[in-house]
């Protein structure tokens, strides 16, 4: 059995909708 580990750090993620917004601005920038 694996030894007990220290707690993992929760990585915050944008929602899928927020990623959509990021994506749109990214597309607008590209020529």
């Amino acid at each position: 059995r694996a030894p007990p580990q220290r707690p993992r750090v929760l990585l915050k993620a944008p929602t899928l909708a927020e990623m959509d917004e990021l994506n749109i601005s990214e597309e607008e920038e590209s020529p």
């Binding site: 990585l11 993620a13 899928l16 990214e26």
Partner: protein
């Protein structure tokens, strides 16, 4: 005495390392430019495993920025691919399989005991060490739902134009078509008969093609079952709606045709081991409508039998079919007004929905049950054809 030092070759621990500058190339080769055929002869969902092995290394190095960056770029790249190939069943199925596999990996190797019950000791050693990716699991779950919906939309778009002619118009019963002249027999078994006419055989060929594609890509059997339940619902609803609007198909012989076609579809489900999918259940209203076209419609006893038979049809639908029922030969008779009144009287207490037609665009909610994999990450080989030689095995 001379001491010998033996150097043990370091084992591959199922992690893949890359320089941050290579992230774009990784996502380009693994997602943006990936063609499903390139990985068809390898482990199903290989791109998902490779991505997870990269995430594992970034986690191992405690590099939260690298994990964040890779997951965000990957998710955005998958979305872009799907947007570009929005009517491509192959691509959609491939990315549904890989996205849900990546989601399963994030669970299986999360270190959360609830997801580890089926893991081997080696798989437990491969769990993430530093980060909890629960929020990314939510994003991947939402993305999987979007891809599933796209897959259903594409599949429905292909099937829908075939349904009415295959289910109601084309004569597929071998005994009936067998007595026809050669020309007719040939026509009824061909894929396309005229401009918009299809045989049931063509529908079944299409279902086979969908099934083979999804199996090839390693899509979870539970998801495949849900796809076919949804498609069978649509086939049934489109057929029934057409039946409810067309006098020329409300006949004894269409009922027979329909029952034969439904039995062929049921047999197809059995052959693909999809009996547990709930697909047959979605066809119940159509099955009853087909029986209604064939049963006797004269006496009070007949009316009682119809009322106990047609539990999945509303009173309005039963009455509509009886009204439309059209005799095609001297042995059949039009349904009398008094018989229909009798039926209406018997069904008075029923709390039926008011609309006549079914909502053929209705979608069942999709579930992605957790499906851990027996595969051990350190056994994976990356074929040279993927152009990923900048990845280092760790």
């Amino acid at each position: 005495r001379q001491a010998t030092v033996q150097r043990k070759e370091k084992d591959f621990e199922g992690m893949l390392e890359y320089y941050k500058e290579d992230e774009n190339l990784l996502v380009k080769n693994l997602v943006t430019d990936m063609k499903p055929q390139v990985v068809s002869a390898t482990v199903p969902c290989l791109p998902a495993y490779i991505l997870f092995m990269c995430i594992r290394h970034a986690d191992y190095m405690n590099d939260d920025q690298k994990v964040h960056s890779l997951l965000t770029s990957t998710i955005n790249a998958i979305k872009k691919v799907l947007k570009k190939h929005n009517d491509d069943i192959e691509m959609t199925s491939f990315w549904l399989a890989n996205t849900s596999r990546l989601l399963h990996c994030l669970k299986q190797y999360s270190g959360d005991e609830a997801f580890m019950t089926q893991n081997t000791a080696k798989q437990n050693e491969h769990c993430l060490k530093n980060f909890d990716l629960a929020e990314y699991r939510q994003v991947l779950s939402d993305l999987s739902i979007q891809i599933y919906q796209q897959l259903i939309k594409v599949a429905e778009g292909i099937l829908q134009p075939m349904i009415v002619s295959a289910m109601l118009e084309n004569e597929s019963i071998p005994s009936l078509s067998g007595v026809k002249p050669m020309g007719y027999r040939k026509r009824s078994s061909s894929m396309v008969d005229g401009e918009n006419s299809y045989s049931l055989e063509a529908v079944i060929r299409q279902l086979n093609a969908f099934h083979a594609t999804m199996c090839d890509h390693g899509l979870d059997p539970e998801i495949i079952q849900q796809v076919f339940k949804q498609l069978f619902y649509m086939i049934s609803a489109v057929t029934l709606n057409n039946l409810l609007l067309r006098k020329d198909v409300c006949s004894w012989s269409t009922g027979m045709q329909l029952r034969y076609n439904i039995s062929q579809l049921e047999e197809w489900l059995r052959g693909k081991n999809l009996q547990q999918s709930g697909a047959v259940g979605t066809m119940e209203p159509l099955i009853q409508a087909a029986q209604l076209l064939q049963v006797k419609k004269k006496t009070t006893e007949d009316a009682r039998a119809i009322c106990s038979l047609c539990t999945s049809l509303s009173t309005q639908q039963i009455v509509k079919i009886l009204n439309l029922y059209t005799p095609l030969n001297e042995f059949e008779e039009r349904v009398t007004v008094s018989f229909i009144r009798n039926i209406q009287g018997q069904l008075q207490g029923r709390n039926d929905p008011q609309q006549l037609l079914l909502d053929f665009k209705h979608t069942f909610p999709v579930l992605f049950p957790y499906t851990p994999s027996a595969l051990s990450l350190e056994t994976l080989h990356i074929p040279a054809s993927l152009n990923l030689d900048f990845l280092t095995r760790v």
